[in-house]
């Protein structure tokens, strides 16, 4: 091969974390592309939150126009490389494919990866910055929403400064997506692509308070907040200090896998997609893994295909099980005390609320416990004086917050709907359009 594959690791690579879906060979891609019907007004386009013109990019693969194909993808979704790997395609484009009725859907995600890999492996940049407008925008957080809005604004000619508190850019794509789905390099390449558009990326820069926001508003014409969410919240149970944060566990598996605990018997608390990711890593490292969930299979927030994947990995599930105490001996975890739950009346979210069954306490032995029960809401939002609902930043259709010239997007605004990379990318696009309109308006006023 002329070019190293994208997934060739510069970061430590554990062969046990080999990608779930290897890249398509050129032949496989051609066969699959030819299978696509090239529907008109295709449902996959609408099903994709970023509305990539899927039939067109697939047809370009079929005609050996891979560069053109990647351009179509990245025009609608600057993070097409990440989304090709992490999107829940069964719930989106592939789930809407007309061939579900007749045979099996087109492997849209894998075809998208084939096209985007082609340009990323060759370091080809598909876009150039627009003619400079003289307007400046600060973007806080370099996760998918921040990268997306930065890229779109740069294409429109605005000067963008992207502030990232961590050492590496990319946000959850870099730190929170397990290597089986996306290696660090793919995410970092997207940060580089933004840089190539002239965006100034400053890592190690954290926004912590209102004064910081005011300073940004003084210097920039608009500010976009792509703050993401926080750590896994505390469970407030005895032995809390022994609980491993699921997100931290995933991050370590990507950045510093040598530091992962060598436990053989791991319990994961939670049953969402992050819980499954953490469990998958633990399982691939050779541990027996049991997932504890206080409700039942039907209430899980994980995608159905993720649940099935977890089962196929040999991950055990214990439903209606609530941990109440981590048991340790001399600083070493030996088990989790749990209580059996019964389902009661629906809670505010519509799911039946579980309650403990008195006297049903039992112990699950294990030597490590990972918690993955969601993420803390962005505490900074309140600190900045933004309107929040349920802890999430309130935005309108244009991704505008309650503060003038301040926009937000990504997981930190995802009160409704499923938090996902692709939704964050689309938020970035909406925000870019709105910011561009606002800045153009201001410009006209000035000149008028």
């Amino acid at each position: 091969m002329d070019h190293p594959p994208m997934d060739e690791q510069h970061y430590p690579f554990d062969p046990r974390f080999a990608p779930t879906h290897p890249p398509l060979s050129a032949h496989e891609a051609a066969v699959e592309a030819h299978r696509c019907l090239y529907c008109y007004d295709a449902p996959c386009i609408q099903a994709c939150p970023t509305h990539i013109d899927i039939p067109t990019f697939i047809r370009k693969i079929a005609t050996d126009n891979l560069r053109g194909s990647a351009r179509v993808i990245l025009e609608s979704n600057f993070l097409g490389g990440t989304c090709a790997r992490v999107c829940p395609v069964e719930e989106l484009c592939e789930g809407a494919c007309v061939l579900n009725a007749e045979e099996k859907p087109i492997a849209i995600g894998r075809l998208q990866r084939h096209a985007v890999d082609h340009v990323q492996e060759r370091g080809l940049q598909m876009f150039t910055a627009g003619p400079a407008t003289g307007r400046k925008v600060a973007v806080v957080g370099s996760g998918p929403a921040g990268l997306s809005v930065s890229a779109e604004l740069a294409k429109l000619g605005h000067a963008v400064t992207l502030l990232e508190k961590r050492e590496l850019g990319g946000g959850l794509s870099t730190y929170g997506i397990i290597v089986l789905r996306e290696p660090v390099e793919v995410s970092l390449q997207e940060v580089e692509a933004v840089r190539a558009l002239g965006v100034t990326v400053e890592t190690g820069r954290e926004l912590t308070n209102l004064a910081g926001l005011d300073a940004l508003l003084d210097e920039y014409d608009a500010v976009f907040l792509g703050l993401g969410l926080g750590a896994v919240p505390a469970m407030s149970i005895p032995g809390e200090e022994h609980l491993i944060d699921g997100l931290q566990y995933i991050e370590d598996s990507k950045i510093a896998p040598d530091g992962l605990p060598d436990a053989q018997n791991i319990v994961v608390i939670g049953a969402g997609n992050t819980a499954i990711d953490a469990a998958t890593i633990a399982r691939r490292r050779g541990a027996d893994v049991a997932m504890l969930y206080r409700r039942t299979e039907s209430e899980m927030t994980a995608y159905r295909h993720e649940y099935e994947f977890a089962l196929s990995e040999g991950i055990q599930y214990r439903f209606l099980t609530q941990p109440v105490r981590v048991i340790s001996d001399g600083g070493r975890v030996t088990g989790v005390e749990c209580v059996k739950m019964v389902l009661g009346v629906p809670d505010t979210g519509g799911r039946p609320s579980p309650r403990p069954l008195p006297g049903s306490e039992f112990i699950v032995s294990c030597d490590a416990v990972i918690k993955a029960i969601g993420q803390e809401k962005p505490a900074l939002a309140t600190e900045l004086g933004l309107d929040v609902a349920g802890g999430y930043i309130v935005v309108n259709h244009d991704m505008q917050t309650s503060l003038p010239r301040v926009y937000a997007g990504g997981d930190c605004v995802r009160l409704r709907g499923t938090a996902s990379t692709v939704m964050a990318v689309q938020d970035g696009k909406y925000a870019a359009v709105a910011i561009h309109q606002q800045l153009s308006q201001v410009q006209e006023d000035v000149h008028g």
Binding site: C39, A47, A96, L99
Partner: protein
Amino acid sequence: MADLSVNFAGIRAPNPFWLASAPPTNSGAQIHRAFEHGWGGAVWKTIGAPVLNISNRYGGLTIGGQRLLAINNVELISDRPLDVNLREIAEIKRLWPDRAVIVSAMVDASPEAWREIVMMIEDTGADGIELNYGCPQGMSERGMGAAVGQVPEMCELNTHWVTSITKLPVIVKLTPNVTHITEPAHAAIAGGANALSLINTINSVMSVDLDTLQITPNIGGRGTHGGYAGPAVKPIALNMLTELLTDESVLKSGVPVCGMGGIVTWKDAAEFLLLGAGAVQVCTAAMHYGYRIVEDMIDGLSNWMDDKGFATIADVSGRALPQMSSFGQLDLGYQAVARIDPDKCIQCNLCYVACNDTAHQCIDLVAGNGVRVDPGYDVRVNGRAVADTRPTPVVREPDCVGCALCANVCPVDGCITMVGVPSTQENISWDALTAQRPEIATSWDAMMAYRKEQGIEIH
């Protein structure tokens, strides 16, 4: 079980599937193996004038990942020594008395040359001779092959030289590289041909490699035209077959026609038989997949004939031919419309875009509430559930001209059917109409008056 045996111009074979004169019939060892697989006959790769071949010889047509939808070749007639071929022909005929062994020949246009080769072929015990007037490449530049087939006088003369000296059935293989296929056919019949076969390959340049900018096949940095064959040529072959078999003087002569050109499966073969072929020849498909394909050809044809109640090949042969007509004889009053089965429709909307962009704009997209909608979607809505509420294509039957484009683009079998509907128009052919009212063919005013009478509205 159907009887697949044929007697084609006196040449008998257990089935109508013969290998055409081409690389698959290059040697005795190959034909022996082909007969073991069940081929009913083989036309030996053309023997005759001395030749030297080149490489590369073949170019393939790939469409949508499908290989060898057509092949073109720059190969010449047999380059094996004449005596070796003749010895092997005799050996094969001795080993396989029940199979049709036909020898294709091509020599310089002289009675002496033909006499010499015909005598040698007769000595082998072969069942017949096929005169190769077809090859468009290599030999035609030397005054043989298509150079003979394209000039009716030469065709007649050469055929006569052969038929006047042999008792073996003589098949003349026609080149499609002519304007009217009937002209060389008439000449062959006048020259005493016992049978015709068609089509030989079509002149072609296969492709240009977009990396190297070289013509394919690339012969040491040069390219040339070659003979085109394979699945893509079948409709051309079927047309020429019907041109022959609807021609009065061909019919009067009673010569049978062996059909070839793009036959891959028993279905293709059945179509040639239905349009009047007495036997068929196959080349490209065997070159693609090997001799083994004949098993399903025999099996499939036999099962189909049983299903249809055909006992013999003669029952099938020409069965569909009477339908062949000319445009002027078609019924202008026949009307068909497209019907889309909503239960089978997968909403790919290929019918919609085809009709709207390139046909007659008579398919609407209709939402679940029965309201006609335009293509497009709400950008704020996403997820797989969007597929559940998609509008569905519906034909506006009064505006449908019955062109059948939608039925052809639809990817779902049986979803769009063309249905004959009662017509208010009179059932009359163009020939009959313009015989009665010749002004209709020359005056738009007269035409529009006729349309008004008949209630024909074209939008």
